[in-house]
């Protein structure tokens, strides 16, 4: 099974590599058996279709991967956000476009809007960021950001060391990954977040807190 790529003077602008690779692929699979599309007889969800159960599971799984989780109704949200920022000593907070301003109604921290936009160094000098999300997945304890209203550019929720993320329950919570994908627009820049930054690179032991936000506080915003 000698691998001897045919020699040819290809350059990055030359179309020859493209045609060569495609021709090799066609030759390689010409005699191959048919390989039909997948049957997909796996489960759509592993939990019952029950918003309360999904909320509880999301809460548990987020906590399991070292996010701090709060449950609150709209009336208590500004106070909670102020308390969370204070707990971490956050004196400045990045504010994505479209974030409801009343969420910041109780905090003294300096709000930094992104109209500028904020440079990476300015973000690095900002203590926290508050955002909403596109949706959250209970089974995996995942929050999905799609850079939509109240979420901001990807850098906003990446560079500051504390990320406070508000998830509307039950509207933004889905049970599983298969239920999440149809609700996400793949053409938007997406970030799936499951707990704070972590690494297993030292003896395969999990340590939280490397380059991304080292603290993730998730607020489950309950209706009513």
């Amino acid at each position: 099974m000698t691998v001897t790529p045919p020699s040819s003077p290809s350059s990055s602008s030359s179309p020859s590599s493209r045609e060569r690779i495609l021709a090799r692929i066609r030759a390689a699979v010409a005699e191959a058996d048919d390989a039909p599309a997948p049957t997909r007889d796996y489960l759509v969800s592993h939990i019952p279709d029950d918003p309360a159960a999904a909320l509880d599971l999301l809460h548990r799984n987020l906590t399991d991967y070292r996010a701090t989780v709060h449950r609150i109704t709209a009336a208590g949200l500004p106070r909670l956000i102020a308390d969370v920022l204070e707990k971490h000593g956050a004196r400045s907070v990045a504010v994505p476009d479209g974030l409801p301003r009343e969420w910041l109604g109780a905090t003294d921290a300096e709000a930094r809007g992104d109209e500028g936009p904020l440079s990476a160094r300015e973000l690095a000098a900002t203590d926290a960021v508050i955002s909403g999300c596109a949706l959250a997945i209970a089974e995996t304890g995942t929050i999905v950001l799609d850079a939509g209203e109240g979420q901001g550019r990807r850098a906003l929720t990446l560079v500051p060391d504390l990320h406070v993320c508000v998830v509307r329950a039950p509207g933004q919570i889905v049970a599983s990954v298969p239920l999440a994908l149809p609700r996400i627009d793949p053409t938007r820049p997406l970030t799936w977040i499951s707990g704070p930054s972590a690494t297993s690179d030292i003896e395969l032991d999990r340590v939280e807190g490397v380059h991304g936000p080292r603290k993730l506080e998730v607020v489950l915003l309950l209706a009513g």
Binding site: M1, T4, S10, S12, Y42, R154, A155, I193, G209, G212
Partner: protein, 475 residues
């Protein structure tokens, strides 16, 4: 033309390198600890999903279907990426890819690149190629950083520094960080949290000033042109988000047809890889987005021997691999030999079938890799895309045996001679009689048996064979 580049110079054959590694007590302890930790946790994470076998089968089917129609899906991917503002380049081999990336970097006027951990760029030796062009490359994954600072070689697909323990990592950080940028603080301890903090501080300045990033990708979605990177630390997000130019070098086999196909791999990859329900961060991007992230995106589609693998009916299943490294973590041979013995950026069971297919089986190391397994089957059992690694190993062994070469000529003669006897029960019975009759005269360590008797006794031969017993007692 040289064989396909896999980013490593020539190496001794596996038995030699593995034989030496087995006697390195620190390495044995590091690997045993790490692999047993992750293998137990993986089993728990997988057991949570009642439909695991069906997800595994769907993953296999998606990959097989994609490979069968790879030309079509790559063209579709190219159109989608281009429509979303990206530029697609095609690289037939390592030299091709390295030149494309070097030209793209030079065109930005930058001399520094931050890198997200990527097997494809290791495979083609991109860092060395860029260094030769005067470009400094900074690895940003913690384990890759440990390897780069230690002037070391990766030994694991997921955790390239798995062979290092915390004390060794602390020593490397103390000695080397200052030579590359921000030094580690005085009194750095070997506490993993402390080490992670040192990496954070060391790399942050690089992230903030980086203008060009190079990444790989775990998946590329043909219908949407979306690329996906799974990671844990946030270094990937930094590289994919902050620089102005992003260059992603991705093997052509990383394609999946549809957005929906991700629902399988988003479930199977994290559980197989880091034993998590979901890894901390997954980034997905489609071309470029105004005001968010890099303004220029280049996708380099890499062949580098993959189409040769695709042409092999048995071997092509290796292209299903999603680089989770579950097979390494359960492999008893890998656990004792370590990753370096495999002489490739792809170690362990998957490396033993991928490397000889990508590079060919001419060199001693490559010809020895298909034999670097007891065929115990633990790798196949955990593979989330059901690559029958033992089957491919057997297939590759046929190629090595047919090729002959060192050690295989005598082996073939012996096997042929034994086959002559074994195909004649009368001769076999006579031979057994002769052996048992003379057993008192046999030396404890007959010539040629050294590889067995180096650490084991030979079995004592019985007074008579079963065949002989049967003849006397039953017929």
């Amino acid at each position: 033309m040289s064989r396909t580049h896999l980013g490593m110079p020539s190496f001794p054959p596996f038995p030699e390198a593995a034989g030496a590694a087995v006697h390195n007590a620190t390495l044995r302890a590091n690997l045993r600890h790490a692999t047993h930790t992750i293998r137990d946790r993986r089993a728990v994470a997988v057991a949570e999903l009642a439909d695991w076998d069906r997800l595994r089968e769907a993953g296999r089917q998606i990959k097989d279907h994609t490979l069968r129609h790879l030309d079509r899906y790559l063209e579709q991917l190219e159109s989608a990426v281009t429509a979303a503002g990206g530029t697609v380049h095609w690289a037939a081999d390592a030299d091709d890819a390295n030149r494309i990336v070097a030209d793209l970097v030079k065109a930005t006027g930058e001399r520094e690149v931050v890198k997200v951990k990527s097997m494809a760029t290791q495979e083609i030796g991109l860092n060395e190629a860029l260094a030769a062009e005067g470009v400094s490359v900074y690895e940003t994954d913690l384990a890759e950083l440990i390897v780069q600072l230690g002037d070391d070689r990766p030994s694991h697909i997921l955790v390239p520094a798995i062979h290092r323990n915390r004390g060794e990592i602390r020593d490397i950080f103390r000695a080397e960080m200052g030579n590359w940028g921000r030094a580690a603080r005085d009194g750095l301890t070997d506490d993993p949290a402390d080490l992670a903090e040192a990496a954070r501080l060391h790399l942050r300045e690089k992230f903030l000033r980086a203008r060009v990033a190079v990444s790989g990708a775990n998946f590329m979605v043909a219908e949407t042109g979306t690329l996906i990177v799974f990671e844990s630390e946030g270094n990937g997000r930094m590289c994919l988000t902050l620089p102005e130019t992003l260059i992603s070098v991705v093997g052509i086999e990383k394609t999946v047809p549809t957005w929906r196909d991700l629902e399988v791999f988003l479930q199977t990859l994290p559980r197989s890889s880091t034993a998590e329900r979901m890894n901390p961060y997954t980034s997905m991007w489609t071309g470029t987005t105004d005001g968010d992230g890099p303004r220029a995106f280049h996708l380099v589609l890499l062949d580098n021997g993959r189409t040769e693998v695709l042409a092999d009916a048995t071997g092509r299943q290796a292209l299903r691999c999603i680089r989770c490294s579950a097979c390494l973590n359960v492999c008893p041979v890998y656990e004792r030999a370590g990753g370096h013995a495999y002489g490739s950026v792809y170690p362990g069971p998957i490396g033993a079938i991928l490397t000889p297919q990508l590079r060919g089986i001419q060199s001693e190391i490559d010809a020895s890799l298909p034999y670097a397994s007891t065929l115990c089957g633990a790798c196949y059992e955990v593979c989330p895309v059901a690559i029958d690694i033992p089957e491919v190993l057997l297939h590759l062994r046929e190629g090595v045996a047919a090729q002959g070469g060192k050690g295989h000529r005598m082996e073939k003669a012996a096997i042929t001679a034994a086959g002559w006897v074994l195909n004649r029960p009368g001769a076999l019975a006579a031979g057994e009689k002769l052996l048992t009759a003379t057993r008192a005269l046999h030396p404890k360590s007959p010539p040629g048996a050294g590889a067995w008797t180096g650490g084991r006794e030979l079995p004592e031969l019985p007074a008579r064979s079963f065949r002989d017993w049967w003849r006397r007692n039953r017929r």
